[in-house]
Amino acid sequence: MRYAEWCIAAPTLEADIAAAAMGLDDIGHSRVLYGSLRELGTPDGTVDDAASYANVPYLDRPWTEWAEFVAANAVLDNAFTLMIEALANGNVETLRSRLKKMLQEERYHTLHGRSWMREVEAGAAIGRAWRESVEWIGPENGDVDELHRSGQLAHGVRDLRRLLEERLDASAPQPAIEWGSWEPIRRRTQAGGIDQATLDMLQGLAEKRYMPASG
């Protein structure tokens, strides 16, 4: 959704179109992931308030600078893609078969993000996105490494961090992460959640304002 917010605000018409297309891709990817979870027997979660959404803090608020879009596109999107890749190459058959198309589409997100990363000065935003990617991947010897050992994920935490650097052809900033305050479900250390306007939109509340009053 944050990508879609830039579909008429990016610096070039081509980037507007790419923002819209990547937003649509990612909505489709979410649907495939939720469908896969259901197929694997995970019950639907309840999402009542901002704190029940398992998003990274980077997505809590709309981005005000194009550099923030670029950093999310280059760093966070690639971190998510590497995890999808690790699942697609793991030993869970449902995921092996369903996630391949997603990776083909994500290739273009990588090309877009990496190229814009060379074009704009996004240092601070990149640092923040990288830190949150590391938090989202999780601590060493945690759940991700456990899933790697059991073969469900093709990569462990160290591999994922290294692959992110390789994919972006850059060295990761080395932030000190307070793993003590890390929330294992939301995979973040920072409290808070999505802004109210976005939450209303996600839950269909914004849409109701435009509906005629009943009776």
């Binding site: 610096p11 070039t12 081509e14 980037a15 179109i17 790419a18 819209a20 297309a21 990547m22 273009y108 997100h109 090309l111 877009h112 990496r114 190229s115 814009w116 060379r118 074009e119």
Partner: protein, 73 residues
């Protein structure tokens, strides 16, 4: 042709695609980008309206024109 816009130095690329293996590639449009990576991302995002079996981009600078409307011949 070279443009100067948001990026300091950009290039124009022609986009070619086809829907089936038996038809030839044809030009579906063009994109402007600073490098091949971004040109690929733009071409795919902009001309994604069909289920193409093949898509490629060619830097316009690599095309050698023989004649064209408005030319001498």
């Amino acid at each position: 042709m070279r443009y100067t816009r948001v990026h300091t130095d950009v290039h124009e690329y022609d986009v070619f695609a086809r829907k089936t293996r038996v038809e030839p590639l044809h030009q579906v449009g063009s994109v402007v980008a600073p490098d091949d990576d971004l040109a690929m991302a733009y071409a795919r995002a902009t001309y994604d309206e069909e289920r193409w079996v093949e898509m490629m981009i060619v830097p316009k600078a690599a095309i050698i024109p023989l004649w064209a409307p408005g030319g001498d011949n």
